[in-house]
Amino acid sequence: MTKTILTTCPYCGVGCGISATVYEDQRQIKINGDHSHPANFGRLCSKGSALGDTVELKGRLLQPQVYGRETDWIEALDLVADSFKAVIKKYGADAVAFYGSGQLLTEDYYVANKLMKGFIGSGNMDTNSRLCMSSSVAGHKRAFGSDTVPNCYEDYEHAELIILIGSNTAWCHPVSFQRICAAKEANPALKIVVIDPRRTASCDIADLHLPLASGSDAWLFNGLLSYLYEHDALDSAYIEAHTEGFIESRDSINNVSTVQVAEHCQLNAEDVQQFYDWFVHTDKVLSLYSQGINQSSSGTDKVNAIINCHLATGKLGKVGSGALSLTGQPNAMGGREVGGMANQLAAHIEFSDVDKVARFWNAPHTTKKAGLTAVELFDAIHEGKIKAVWIMGTNPVVSLPNADKVKQALQGCEFVVVSDCIANTDTTALAHVLLPAQGWSEKDGTVTNSERRISRQRALFKPAGAAKPDWWIITQIARRMGFETEFNYQNPVDIFREHAALSGFENNGQRDFDISAYAEISATEYDQFQPTQWPVNAAYPQGRARMFADGQFFTPSGKARFIAVTPRPPVNQPTADYPLILNTGRLRDQWHTMTRTALAAKLNQHKPEPFVEIHPNDATHYGLQANGLAHLESQWGSMIARVQLTENKLGSVFVPMHWTEQYASHGRMGALVNPVVDPISKQPESKHTPVRIRPYTPVWQGFILSRRELKITDVDYWIKSKGDGFYRYELAGDTLPDDWRDYVRKNLCNSTAENPQWQDYQDTAKGVYRAARLLDEQLESVIFIAADHHLPERSWLSMLCAKAELTKAERMALLTGSPPVGGADVGAILCACFNVGEKTILAVIKEQGLTTHQQVGQCLKAGTNCGSCIPEIKALFE
């Protein structure tokens, strides 16, 4: 029994449509791109394509847990509601907090925000979107008076110049990148400029890469604004008619030259000039920006520095022309729509209009002030001001800056609730109550992508175990807290209708977010919902691709605002103690904290181990070897990573953001990141932390490939990754075990009753140990230990793990780590003394026309020692 269901990918903000063929009985799905979805038109990236490998039940949180004990929903929900009520009663509403996620569906998000802000009466509802695009939100609101993304993906195909700013689009928004690649192929005149300190995969299609100094983006765009003015490239009519604050902005910049800009940004002046010229001389310019802009202590200013240039040229919200923030998460935008962040209210309503929300919800206690944002919120937990926190579908112990402090905060917190679909994460480990949420393949609701497009996520399977939708869990708690009628939803569409109604409530065109057309949507229509870009209202019943082309903004004056930006360097500059700049970011094949992508073997092949990219000269300076291990340390924490030499900026290192304690002993980059935030957006400066680096030289290094999952806990350094039919462990240790043979027999086997076969190789003097465990003819596990990182490629051995049966040649080559080469078949050994095979002898008899065994002996030595094979050699002449 199969059925095909259209849904949306749960990873990045591109929001690709997926066509899933569902084999309900086997709990399996076949994933294809949805050709009808306007975000991707059938394309998918590696992560989306591998979704079928992530829906297994292994590792899922399937039952509520209370203080480490499995229980039923009733006990768990009662405990959470009672505990929150007790804390609120004793300490007030601000002593509790929710921390949500851009992975939540809009309906989930809506009820969470409604409960916290409207009924508990605190602003302490923030989300991991704070780490992702809050600077864009703040920048949009300053410029446009609303959090509005002006442009859309279709502009990729119309633009004549695309500027990728602080975005490794190729890896982080791969399908958008594919569309841009296709656009460039179709229109070779399309210019691509990449602005990024690193030379990333996105530079592959770049006509110009500007590897600017970390955090210097505002200088570059202020310089552009100045250049536009100097070169008479302004759209004065547009500025006059539709904007305000231009003069102040321009004057604040003070006519910087491209040479000055280049100096500030550590760029070639010619490159800067080239970029500026292209901007001036191209009609359709599209700026795409992401975390390199947002994750900064001046992120909001950087956003506005970019938008200023588009306002100054009138290149905004037009076909092929404008600014588009590439959001990180599948529903970061949906979260923004429902007020998922502490300084927002639902439906893009400002705190100044809180009365509207309060009246709509009939919630007189709706909070009138913003709550604590992510970093502040966990600081407050650390300080004991927040006594109870509910973390929904996210992993702050890994992802927040100064993550070790976050861990301590949760360890010290009175009451920690985590709702998640995965049982073991670094954050679930610290929870008092675990609530099993439905995963992507089970949930129903809506998400909004980077271009304001609302799409449906649809359930593919029945819920796993006792897992429930997030909206259900939240409303159950709300009801138990005394808000039964206000949270009496029966299904997601009930919530969606209310959400849509609120967006139109007393709106009258004052707020950008308006989907009031859906206020009465039927269950059937909701089921058949087609991807649509908001607003969707009486004026735009089919939605709206672009905003602001008419020059009408949501500021009180209706005009867009130039923001005078005074560029600021990142807060913490390198010092003698911490001389390098740490940059962080995503990898192509992993998502966030790997809770789901690491389940897919094929996604773990690309980069199986946390690494640090460093310039070869820096590596030499700090005594690091390629592929050796390095210890990275900041004022806030440390990690260990594998050294990769890359020709990037001197003095700058990069580590991937994904690894957690579930997959690495020392791979959490969040521990190093400085807890510095943008003063306006409160988004952390995750792209710039001063660090130092030194070689980590363990006594031994090695790896294990094992068909069964192992518990490797007593090793100083370990990395775990799942392969196709095996698990891979990269290991290192500061002390040697007494006896490797004993060690592997203890750690690679569950029981001695299995009667495994062992192959061992030991070169003690060189610190080399290798062993394989076989069951019948199948490779169960293999371990390679060396004194350093000189170890074989894992690929061939990995492939052997997947084989049902090893050949003799493979078995004998196994512990060399490389496939057998050139082993000619010599046949059965006849002369054991000189190891001469029957086929070798027959060949020489034939080739040289030999007639006696003595001649054979002269040719091959066969039979000339003990002579016992002479009868057999004689027999070969017959």
Binding site: K766, L791, E793, A832
Partner: protein, 415 residues
């Protein structure tokens, strides 16, 4: 012209002596009138294949190297049989005398009297049913016992003892090997290899009493062995007792002739004894302190000796490490060089217990100095070459133990 030929007399019709003659005939076929004395009534046979005869893998015919016709064809006078055993060498007269009075004059004498089995220093070794395992007579006795008796005990877990035990088991006897060490072939094998070997031989039905201290052999009224008694008080029933605890050079004749002997007949690098007209090869000699028990050095000695007898006079004998093998069907073992190693040595070990493979290589100063291979001996010859040629193996080290084919495998490691 015939009269001008010098006279060469060979005492001993065994493998070393006859290999020397073969080498000599090929180097200088016309130089000597050759006379050979042999105490056994056969032509020349491959003594090391006696185990195969005992095991039934070969017949005596199969192991004959040179039959009587060969001696005729090569104009060699052969005096073979017990009565033709040489009892005296008259060095002054340059003449040898056999038991039956046959004499032969020599210009050059080659002594190749071989070795005798070591007899343990306990009472009862003179009982009937107590034999060594040296020649066709011994094999025939063992075969006869195997048809009429049940219990055999083999003293000595060395190569010969194990081959004897294997043969007797195959002939249907209940065989126990008693060994004074806890590791079989302890001179060639280390403990892991020895244990693998023991397990495999046990599977073939051989029983073992390891680290055993023999007390005495007890017999019945007919002076036939009945019981083997041990220091620990235990006893074994026994119908046939094989002594296989090594050999010592057979030098009775040489000593009686006043040739300088220590443990063996002392020879120089040309295989010449202290009497310039007398050469000696094989298990009866002592060269630079070494005596011999394996076939490979004997063949080398034969080559060098023939070189000097033929008056080429350029070859020098050097004892190379000798590789050891066990001739038991289905068992592959190889051992060469210093397998224990000293403090400066490093070792590489490989084992695959299910395949019954164990390998150990001993290295010193980046050179191979010893090797034990069990179960997979395919690379024995390669290791022997590396060892003999003192090849620096540092670049091969990572893949060395995996054999010649795989040794280059690790060179393509990328990190």
């Amino acid at each position: 012209m015939h009269n001008k030929k010098q006279k060469l007399v060979v005492i001993g019709n065994g493998m070393a002596g006859m290999r020397t003659i073969e080498e000599l005939l090929s180097a200088a076929p016309e130089q000597y009138d050759i006379t050979v004395f042999g105490a056994e009534p056969y032509g020349n046979y491959n003594r090391i294949m006696l185990s195969a005869v005992l095991a039934g893998d070969k017949t005596i015919e199969d192991i004959v190297i040179n039959n009587r016709q060969w001696y005729i064809d090569n104009h060699i006078t052969l005096h073979a049989g017990e009565s033709k055993a040489v009892i005296s060498i008259e060095r002054g007269l340059q003449k040898v005398i056999a038991k039956d009075g046959t004499t032969a004059d020599y210009d050059r004498l080659l002594i190749a009297t071989g070795s005798k089995a070591v007899v343990p220093d306990v009472t009862g070794c003179d009982l009937d049913g107590v034999i060594s395992f040296r020649d066709i007579v011994d094999v025939n006795k063992m075969l006869a016992y195997s048809r009429s008796h049940k219990k055999a005990v083999v003293l000595g877990g060395g190569l010969l003892g194990l081959e004897a035990a294997n043969g007797l088991v195959l002939r249907g006897m209940d065989v126990t090997v008693i060994h004074n060490h806890d590791v079989l072939l302890n001179r060639q094998m280390d403990k892991p290899a020895g244990l693998l070997l023991q397990t495999e031989l046990e599977k073939k039905g051989i029983k073992f009493k390891m680290a055993a201290k023999l007390k005495c052999l007890l017999g019945d009224a007919n002076k036939h062995i009945t019981t083997v008694s041990f220091e620990d008080g235990s006893e074994l029933d026994c119908d046939l007792f094989i002594m296989a605890i090594g050999v010592r050079p057979n030098i009775i004749l040489a000593k009686r002739a006043g040739l300088y002997c220590e443990r063996g007949i002392v020879v120089n690098d040309t295989l010449q004894s202290y009497d310039p007209s007398i050469y000696a090869v094989g298990e009866c000699i002592q060269h630079r302190g070494d005596t011999f028990g394996l076939v490979a050095p004997l063949f080398e000695q034969a080559k060098v000796c023939a070189n000097h007898l033929s008056a080429h006079g350029v070859a020098e004998y050097i004892t190379l490490p000798t590789a050891t093998k066990l001739k038991v069907t289905g068992i592959h073992l190889f051992s060469i060089g210093d397998i224990q190693g000293d403090k400066q040595c490093e070792s590489l070990c490989f084992s695959d217990s299910a395949l019954g493979i164990y390998k150990k290589l001993v290295l010193k100063d980046d050179k191979l100095v010893g090797a034990v291979l069990y179960g997979d001996t395919a690379d024995g010859v390669w290791y022997q070459q590396l060892l003999e040629q003192e090849t620096n193996i540092s670049v091969l080290r990572d893949g060395l133990i995996f054999g010649k084919i795989y040794s280059s495998n690790t060179s393509n490691w990328v990190i």
